[in-house]
Amino acid sequence: MPDENDSPLTEDELALAREGKALISSAVADVRAPQSLREGIERDRERARARTGAPFWPRHRLGLAPAGAAAAALLAVVIALETSGNTTEPSPTKVYAVARLDPTKAAPRPLGGAPPVLAAKVDSLAFPDWKASFGWKAVGRRNDTLSGRSVTTVFYRNPQGARLGYAVVSGDTLGGDPPGRGVTRRGKTYHVARVREHTIVTWNQQGHTCAIVAPARVPPARVLDLAASRNV
């Protein structure tokens, strides 16, 4: 059967193809994978290397006696649970995306305290009540699971009607530097990113990755103030 594209290219088409190739080459030359992606993959590779270095795979390929095979199968499940369950972790962009979604639950109630907190927390890290000190009132929350990690987001709204999402990822902090410029406040580093529609601040708090995603009309310094208010 003749190919649908067997007709020869005209001179004009060939010229266009050369132009297109030049455009593509120029675009490709500037594109590198982000550092956060490299580091995420490197962690996956280290885990894979650790697995292939273990004696399980060669034994598995050679075949085992039934009892041994059953034990090996159980071991495989354990290995899978221990190593494959978290072979990946959510990228920062996924966390930011969740923090931009709408709430699915009512706002957590204020619990008071000094500094005041809300009735929502990830492990021992409670979400702050920013109403009195900053004017940002909690208006909702949501819980999501990204790459096996639960992400809790509390949404706040200020008197001008701007709404931000404050997301906390369960488990260990995500690897790699988050996108944005590193800014130090009270000895802690916050990564501040300004994009067309959003201001994003990412940092580590009590062993968890935290991110605030606010509308761009909220100045980055104000978002940073909110994030740094946790470091007291």
Binding site: E13, L16, A17, S26, A27, V31, L37, R47, T52, T88
Partner: protein, 174 residues
């Protein structure tokens, strides 16, 4: 004939840039590309893999295409996408960052992503991933001559698409 061998995780890191470019061209989104490549590597590295190809890149590119197709199917079942738009790209600050070139690169990738599948796949395999025409033909299950034809037509369509985009921008300003 190349004998079967085990995929070596230690060598896969050499292909991240190529996979990332291919993923961006497939999806049209830098943000989605990052997720696609991360998921592809996580899947490939989840267990030992036996491969026939002499080069791991073909295997990885096939895995990337499968991940992309699966993600598109899953997205079609979901009510709405949640990905951030590509305006997040400038948050990766590089000293040599050139905003105009970066914007043009984004548009080139967006145009490629809008090509029909046979043309896009040929272009992604050769111009993004760097496969030879023969390797691309094997990967995509078609003749080398067909790859050549599709590749040239795809490049021409990219040039036309960029001209249209440029006219659209200039027209909008006028």
């Amino acid at each position: 004939m190349v004998p079967d061998r085990m995929l070596d995780p230690a060598t896969l890191g050499d292909h991240i840039d190529r996979l990332f470019r291919a993923a961006w061209a497939l999806s049209g989104s830098r943000v989605e590309a990052e997720d696609l490549v991360q998921e592809t590597f996580a899947h490939v590295l989840a267990k030992p893999r036996r491969v026939r190809d002499a080069d791991d890149l073909g295997y990885l590119l096939q895995a990337l295409r499968n991940t992309f197709i699966s993600s598109r199917r899953a997205a079609a079942r979901r009510p709405a996408p949640v990905a951030l738009d590509d305006s997040i790209e400038p948050v990766d600050p590089r000293p040599a960052s050139r905003p105009e070139q970066a914007a043009e690169a984004r548009e080139v990738f967006a145009v490629i992503a809008r090509l029909s599948e046979p043309f896009r796949d040929a272009l992604v395999a050769v111009d993004m991933a760097g496969l030879s025409y023969a390797e691309a033909g094997e990967l995509l299950g078609t003749k080398e001559a067909t790859i050549t034809s599709r590749l040239f037509r795809a490049r021409a369509q990219v040039a036309r698409g960029m001209e249209s985009a440029s006219e659209g921008v200039n027209g909008g300003r006028g």
